[in-house]
């Protein structure tokens, strides 16, 4: 038994940490937030040059093959620096779906390009302001053509490739691959992508309208919803690592401010009302971190415990980031509510990540569903 990451894994983490520290300070997030570009092309290019997107893609498909534990630590850093790149959509979701369910041909076509950052992918699920279920998917496919609207798709404005959850008239819910560039080139007007404002505009969220858009099946017919859940369980671990990365920075920011800000003749961090709040932030973070470690192990070993471990990590990482981002504002007082201070960056990202892959209640439900009966114990 060894409950820690290996030194090789930590080395990759430190390398990504150093790169982001020097190239992805919060100003980068801010400039995307304020509308200067849909994402940070510089940071994305830098990560691509280091081979980071290919971390867990196997070498035969152009990746590094360093495994999912390493990718978890990469995700933690991306979350910590609020990196405004399409990493999560392209790697945790699109590339993952293709790796798991793609035909050999689809893997050969797409994975090397995704690993090399030549192609940006995403996953389109949500169609309304209801939580998505197998029954409320309405985007449909007939004769290899998609029709209907996905209401909100992260990074769709910059994506070249989209994995779409849609209903086949005969087979039920399937996953489909849409080559967006190709589709638009071949039949103009078959896809229209409209940016929409969200709580975190650095996620480049868009509505995507399909109108007889050419697509190809990904994975087995009728298995789409199940496949989506498998992808989500794996992505949940990675998003949870992004969440604890961000939570850590929000907590650090609160602690630093509380040490330097004086009121009533003393640093505000010496008041128990505030230090106890920060102790609680630390506790939530520590529990989430430990659950994430366990989930990283379950993910990297394809353990049968993955659904439970992923939901557990996801629930506690969501709680931790929500708490740290919220109370970081509280520690800052009025200054925390200004645009100028960075508190709202974490607040924005934490709330967006909470909803990505389905919200907290969805994951609580999954956790209980995956929990073995107490009677068996």
């Amino acid at each position: 038994m060894d409950f820690d990451f290996s030194s090789e894994e930590k080395m990759v983490r430190d390398q990504v940490d150093r790169y982001l520290m020097n190239n992805c300070e919060n100003g980068v997030f801010r400039s995307v937030l304020e509308g200067e570009g849909a994402y940070s092309e510089d940071v994305w290019r830098g990560l691509v040059e280091m081979g980071v997107p290919g971390t867990a893609i196997s070498a035969e498909y152009g990746g590094v093959g360093a495994g999912y534990s390493t990718l978890c630590l990469v995700a933690e850093q991306l979350g910590a620096y609020l990196a405004p790149t399409p990493f999560s959509s392209s790697i945790y979701l699109a590339a993952e779906a293709i790796q798991l369910f793609g035909s050999e041909d689809q893997k050969q076509t797409w994975l090397p390009k995704l690993a090399a950052g030549e192609v940006i992918g995403t996953l389109a699920v949500t169609e309304s302001t209801q939580e998505s279920t197998e029954d409320n998917i309405q985007v449909s496919c007939s004769d290899g053509k998609l029709s209907g609207r996905k209401l909100i798709v992260p990074h769709a404005g910059i994506a070249d490739l989209c994995v779409v959850v849609a209903r086949d008239i005969n087979a039920g819910v399937n996953l489909y691959l849409v080559d967006l560039g190709d589709a638009i080139g071949a039949s103009p007007g078959s896809v229209s992508v409209t940016p929409i404002d969200t709580v975190d505009n650095t996620m480049n969220s868009c509505s995507v309208q399909f109108a007889n858009t050419p697509c190809e099946l990904l994975g087995a017919p009728g298995e789409g919803w199940h496949q989506l859940k498998v992808v989500y369980d794996r992505a949940a671990v990675l998003i949870a690592f992004e969440q604890i990365g961000g939570a850590r920075k929000a907590l650090d920011m609160a602690v630093d401010y509380a040490k330097g800000r004086f009121a009533f003749g003393r640093p505000i961090g010496s008041f128990q009302a505030l230090k106890h709040m920060m102790a609680d932030m630390y506790v939530a973070l520590k529990l989430a971190e430990s659950n994430c470690y366990y989930a990283a192990w379950a993910l990297s070993t394809d353990s049968a415990e993955l659904p439970l471990a992923a939901a557990t990590a996801r629930v506690s990482a969501t709680q931790a980031y929500q708490l740290c981002a919220r109370d970081n504002i509280q520690v800052h007082g009025g200054m925390g509510f200004t645009w100028e201070f960075d508190c709202h960056l974490y607040y924005r990202r934490s709330n967006y990540l909470t909803l990505m892959l389905g919200g907290l209640s969805t994951w609580e439900d999954k956790l209980i569903h995956a929990l073995p009966s107490g009677k068996a114990a």
């Binding site: 038994m1 602690v255 106890h276 520590k286 192990w297 557990t312 209980i368």
Partner: protein
Amino acid sequence: MDFNDTEQEATFRQQVKSWIGDNAPTYLREELELSGFGSTRTGSYDPLAEAKKWQKKKADAGWACIQWPKEYGGRGATPIESVIWNQEEGVYNKLSGTFIIGQGMCAPTMMSYASEAQLKRYMPTLASGQEVWCQLFSEPQAGSDLAGLRTKAEKEGDDWVINGQKIWTSGAQHSDYGILITRTDPEVPKHRGLTMFFLDMKSDGVDVRPIKQANGDSGFNEVYFENVRIPDAQRLGEVGEGWRVSLTTLMNERMAIGGGIATGFPEIQALVEELHVATGTAIDNPAVKSKLADWYAKSAGLRNTASRAISALSKGEIPGPENSIGKLVAGGMMQDIAKFSLDLQGLGGAIVDPEIARGSARIQAMLMRSPAVRIEGGTDQILRNILSERVLGLPDDMRADKGIGFNKIPSGS
């Protein structure tokens, strides 16, 4: 990262399993499973005698305090082996409650400060449960502010003479020895005037009186000292260094109770899987599900945090104040779980008669014991101070007693 056993660990586990299979007191199993929350249930058998019997059996076969060196009654095992032992000992571990303070807290302090001859004399009998130890720290005027303690130790020849009173001493009524922190110099600021000793609890002038607790049990005691003599050879650490010595004990206390601490999760899971509420089986109710998921995530978080601490320990790192989170999380959680579990049962939840109440009234016992968990061994508030000051590095609160001689500190009396 690997949460599975290595080959060597698997062999060790097999060895443990087979020894426990052959030797455990299986006749106590059913009752022990119902224990917890302040009491060890052994049915018609005497709990202390059964605890000592199991401990002695383990010691004779080399399975007591397995991480300790062999010459002190242990096995020289690694931290991971110790985890494996605890996992396999399982429910029988509940019999060890009597020895936790002595083995988990007094022993590490002794091992840091006592002489070799003393260790050879006292450690093996502590490991085998033949002698029970207690920790004499808290006082009526010194709980959270432990360094404000008043029990006096005055030097007379080669002895120290002790006068004063301790309180909240677990297991003092069964104890043969104890470690005792005293004030040897009231003139200097409070942390600098303390000195630690160990003593024979059967010494003249020691008077142990059980406390009747709010939940009706009596696990804790008051201990009075009237001209009790302790030889100077039983001093642990230098005169005036008692505070530093006590930190060794307290750090180990957090390790000892952090990992395997009860949270109440298995109890509420068992309840909601079978209990019917207005909407059907309780576990299918969305409000129940949401709370249960939150509590599972917390209890898994504690378990995984303990695993990480053990990994760090096995790589030679020293357990730090971050281990304070175990009791902080578990205490509040246990209380919340108890209240919610009873709420689901309506007025019937108020019944504490184990013959009538659901689940032999374990949840009611949890309700009544949980306030103490949030106080003993460091209140929730003190633990938050520790986390924020020692882990996060936040500044100390302003202290009215800083730098003042102990006898000049305002006491309100």
